[in-house]
Symmetry: C2
Subunit: 137 residues, 2 copies
Amino acid sequence: MARPYTQVLERLRAAGLRPTRQRLALARLLFDGGDRHVTAEILHGEALDAAVRVSLATVYNTLHQFTAAGLLREIVVDSQRSYFDTNTSDHHHFFFESSGRLDDIPNERIVLARLPDPPKGTRVKRVDVVVRLDDTG
Amino acid sequence: MARPYTQVLERLRAAGLRPTRQRLALARLLFDGGDRHVTAEILHGEALDAAVRVSLATVYNTLHQFTAAGLLREIVVDSQRSYFDTNTSDHHHFFFESSGRLDDIPNERIVLARLPDPPKGTRVKRVDVVVRLDDTG
DNA sequence: GTGATTGCAAATCTTTTGCACTAAA
DNA sequence: TTTAGTGCAAAAGATTTGCAATCAC
């Protein structure tokens, strides 16, 4: 079932984003139904499939606004394309190189011992672990 | 001082790459003098500065051929640009987001305990840890 | 109304490609 | 020779931008 309309709407308002038709529609595609990893192209395609008129430029803008607002997290695994993750909590990723698919690895499944201190004048913003996978045989 | 010409030449031959003028020049820029992280644009600029005539397309080709031959490793930290690392041994990276700079973290400075098993039908190709840094204050 | 948001098309940036030319073996 | 490698300019793909039209408040 779709998350109640008002919940998405409130979420946008809380983030200081005007709940426009486009943002509401994209937010529902993104946040209804579990954790997702999308590219701008994929989300735009889903919007069109759902008969939501939205330009690709707006999809890019929206993804970045949502990311700035903390609703999404950008994942860098492929230098050709940006992925956005609806799971903004601490966790890591499997990256299936053959298909371009991305899967979450829950935080507790990886233990990082002995992390180096950040260089002077800097602070650790995030530690990303990407487990790159090949197909067997 | 520059590594002896023949050493670079032999390294290319050993990798099955014809030691052309362009490849030799780029190899010397890359492999003389310690570990480096370059983008195609940067390496092309260095070549021009060193009065080596080489096209950007050839720089891209060469970086990929060197990577395929195991002389370089590609690092994904920025979805807009590809970085290549002359250090091909196992290690990780600091990424200074404000400057786009990349620094090696020796392998033993990070201990990965309890890695998840790869999903059925896949094999772990590599585990990349990127420590993303912000400037303080 | 008024300022934020959107769409569109054009621009930008990185990277790849096609193909005639050049150079290594 | 013969085949791999190169340069150039054009193409491709992802993303951003400028600006007039539209929408939320």
